[in-house]
């Protein structure tokens, strides 16, 4: 059985989000001052509206107050949001995915204490604080070598009476500037740290080579109650979820849609430029890359939703999310550049969107540990290489 049909619920939410993006997000996100490559405030009203549509709690179970959406549905939603604004898409992708992981890792008592306030508050976002300064995990020199590439955790949590006392620093924490709850990897395990916990200090991240919002968090004798220690580790989602690839895809689609519209309006050479072979072929090449990327992303998401599919030989035992990541990041930069070229000189103007799509696609290609690292991870997986587990030194 090979079935690519979306469920009625998936189709409905895709239409809902697409409509929301067209009506509420694009008119604001495409204002010239938001297209320049400078730090800009998140669109607060649209974040609130998107939460009211249920996108923040999308991936929680229905019992937990969410929609019980699977990875594929989350990817569909993220792509649609990113067509309008990659920053909104990033914020929701992080909160929704982390919500699901948290729900799984919590004890029933923690769920009861935490989930209702999370579900109720439209401004309640989540941030995972795992990366530490200088704790790069790049594979690079360690390709196919036993050296550990596990991120080193120096942040400590020490029991003091009824509290955990946390000390340490985290960097490149997505959603940090807006999060109401931090999920913090410390020596003892994973802790829930509310934004207003005493001793927690926030700083916005320098540079703007990321989507959404990002910051550094430090903990100086930061105290949280003892039962904020999660019952289980915060496991990555199955074989890796592909929301950030869906975000990348949304950027490419936005560029494509703009170019396709323009190519039918702009007349040079006596006819709309889409009627010239050179432009027609460029748009066709863009459409091919978008479809191939979406197929890879959806397959990775579906694999994550169906972990049994490898055992039953429906899917290859490959890191499909890594494959989607490498292909999508490279293909979407090509897509954005080709789409911008259809606009001639207007393709490089900062008060117009095409140059922003190119920049946004570059950010995806070069953020995180980079495509080269992902490629090496894939190569290790192909050869069946297993890195000996040991803790960092």
């Amino acid at each position: 059985m090979f079935d690519l049909r979306l469920s009625p619920e998936q189709l409905e939410i895709r239409d809902t989000v697409r409509d929301f993006v067209a009506r509420e997000v694009k008119p604001v996100a495409l204002k010239p001052e938001r297209l320049e490559p400078f730090a800009k405030p998140l669109l607060a009203a649209q974040l609130d509206q998107a939460s009211k549509l249920g996108l923040r709690t999308l991936a929680l179970t229905e019992a937990g107050g969410g929609a019980g959406a699977d990875n594929l549905t989350c990817c569909i939603v993220t792509e649609e949001l990113a067509v309008g604004d990659p920053d909104i898409a990033a914020v929701f992708a992080h909160t929704a995915a982390l919500g699901r992981r948290l729900e799984r890792a919590m004890t029933p008592a923690q769920r009861e204490r935490f989930l209702p306030q999370f579900v109720r508050d439209d401004a309640f976002h989540l941030a995972l604080a795992e990366r530490e300064p200088g704790g790069g995990t790049a594979l690079g020199v360690n390709y196919h070598r036993p050296a550990t590439i596990q991120p080193v955790t120096r942040t400590t949590a020490v029991r003091s009476g009824g509290d955990w006392v946390i000390n340490g620093a985290k960097t490149a924490v997505a959603n940090a500037p807006i999060a109401k709850m931090f999920v913090v990897q410390a020596g003892v395990g994973t802790l829930l740290v509310p934004r207003d916990a005493p001793g927690l200090c926030l700083r916005g991240q320098d540079g703007h080579w990321f989507h959404g919002s990002c910051g550094e968090v430090t903990f100086e004798d930061c105290r949280v109650p003892a039962d904020n220690l999660l019952g289980a580790g915060i496991e990555a989602d199955g074989r890796g979820s592909a929301e950030l690839q869906a975000l990348n895809l949304g950027i490419g689609r936005a560029a494509y849609e703009a170019a396709l519209d323009y190519a039918q309006l702009r007349v040079q050479g006596g006819r709309p430029i889409v009627e010239h072979q050179a432009i027609g072929a460029k748009l066709a090449g863009i459409a091919i890359r978008l479809e191939v990327a979406r197929a890879a992303i959806w397959r990775a998401a579906w694999a994550s939703d169906h972990p049994e599919a490898v055992a039953d030989r429906s899917l290859p035992d490959l890191p499909l999310q890594t494959i989607a990541r490498v292909y999508t990041a490279e293909a979407m930069l090509e897509v954005a550049k080709d789409a911008a070229e259809c606009f001639g000189a207007m393709g490089v103007m900062r008060d117009l969107p095409m140059q922003k799509y190119v920049h946004d696609a570059r950010v995806c290609l070069h953020s995180g540990d980079g495509s080269a690292d992902a490629t090496l991870r894939l190569a290790e997986a192909l050869a069946g290489y297993r890195r000996p587990a040991k803790t960092g030194t």
Binding site: Q268, A345, V348, G370
Partner: protein, 398 residues
């Protein structure tokens, strides 16, 4: 077959390298970061470069210029672009149009315009062709749509021409002191038969500059709107013949000294400068930066990227220098256009590879790598866009 440079060529190259390293490089990133597109320009660097001859080096010796050959010009553009592509272009833009003055203007016009150009360190030149609804149509006029192309109108009234209309994206449009303006003098004829070129000084009554375009790359380089409202230009400022503009640009006749064909070499040589810059810094970075206590350079993937960057760059250098050599021998071929098209592919791939080698460190990207990537994109929108490739193919098909 001899690839060596003459002493004079070598001297210009070294002078440009020194100026680029000592004067241009230190201001490059700061000028690029200025948010207001009209404030990125810096007259100080133009004055300094002008005093060294970098503004006027293409003017023939008999008119008081340096009379450098095309090989020298290619070398200098590359060296200047190695420190800042947009600043290099700001200088070479003046050569482009001084070639056109030398090739197409009468002795009387040369006397009127070349002398003040040579005497004034802040005298820069421009040429207005593009309009909002006429970009590709000017480069490749469609046979089946004779009205296509630029619309700016010029009408004869006694000894004057009255110009009405707008130009868009014009280099130096807001800061130039003298412009070549292509205007439609026969609205019923196709572009090539109905366009005339005029010399339009900045203080022409009825002419004013509009906005400066806010580009993502080449931020130092000024591109502006030009607005003509009953602008009055003396008949004595017609370049060549009425309705003969396109021929005079060097576009149709294959005249290598005209502005357009120099422009092909110019963009290819400038791209080479970006590539040299990227190769040099990428190699430095790969040797200096450590990952897990070992130099990045030890990794095969890094070495393969450095190999490809250098391979493409050296291939481009060979092409650029061959085209310059052909120009100096007045050899007509499609090579200038092909070199320009090739330079688009090369500069973009090399800039991407450079960004790869620098990598994203957490949430930041190296500002220099970001600038080179943005600058390199400009080629798609000027030099290597599909229309330019088709135009070059047209030369092949003749």
């Amino acid at each position: 077959m001899d690839f060596s440079l003459t002493d004079e060529q070598r001297e210009w190259q070294m002078k440009a390298r020194k100026f680029a390293r000592e004067e241009i490089r230190p201001i490059s990133l700061a000028r690029d970061a200025i948010e207001d597109p009209a404030a990125t320009f810096d007259w100080d660097i133009i004055r300094k470069g002008s005093r060294l001859g970098f503004r006027t080096m293409a003017v023939p010796r008999e008119w008081g210029g340096h009379g450098t050959d095309f090989v020298t010009q290619a070398l200098v553009m590359t060296e200047l672009a190695r420190a800042d592509s947009a600043i290099s272009k700001a200088f070479s833009q003046c050569w482009k149009w001084s070639h056109l003055i030398a090739a197409s203007c009468t002795e009387e016009q040369k006397g009127r315009f070349l002398k003040p150009f040579l005497a004034d360190d802040t005298f820069v030149l421009g040429k207005g062709i593009s309009e909002h609804s006429a970009g590709s149509d000017n480069r490749l006029p469609p046979a089946d749509d004779p009205k296509a192309g630029l619309k700016l109108r010029a009408e004869r009234r006694g000894d004057e021409w009255i110009l009405n209309g707008e130009k868009a994206f014009i280099a130096n449009g807001n800061i130039g002191k003298l412009f070549f303006i292509d205007a439609r003098t026969d609205p019923n004829a196709p572009l090539k038969q109905g366009t005339t070129m005029f010399l339009v000084p900045r203080d022409t009554p009825g002419f004013r500059a509009g906005k400066v375009y806010n580009k993502s790359g080449w931020r130092f380089y000024q591109n502006g709107e030009m607005i003509f409202e009953n602008a009055r230009v003396p008949h004595a400022n017609v370049v060549g013949e009425v309705n003969g503009a396109v021929r005079k640009s060097g576009g149709a006749g294959g005249d290598t000294t005209g502005g357009d064909l120099f422009g092909d070499l110019e963009l290819a040589a400038n791209a080479l400068g970006i590539c040299d810059d990227a190769c040099e810094v990428a190699l430095q970075h790969a040797r200096g930066a450590k990952q897990g206590g070992r130099a990045l350079f030890e990794q095969q993937l890094i070495q393969l990227k450095l190999n490809r960057m250098h391979m493409l760059t050296e291939a481009l250098r060979s092409f650029v220098m061959r085209v310059a050599w052909e120009h100096d021998r007045k050899i007509h071929s499609p090579n200038p256009g092909l070199a320009m098209n090739f330079s688009t592919d090369v500069v973009q791939e090399v800039a991407e590879l450079y960004m790869d080698v620098r990598g994203g460190a957490g949430c930041a990207m190296d500002a220099h790598a970001d600038k080179l990537a943005r600058d390199s994109i400009i080629w798609s929108h000027l030099a290597g866009d599909t229309v330019q490739r088709l135009k070059v193919a047209g030369r092949l098909g003749k």
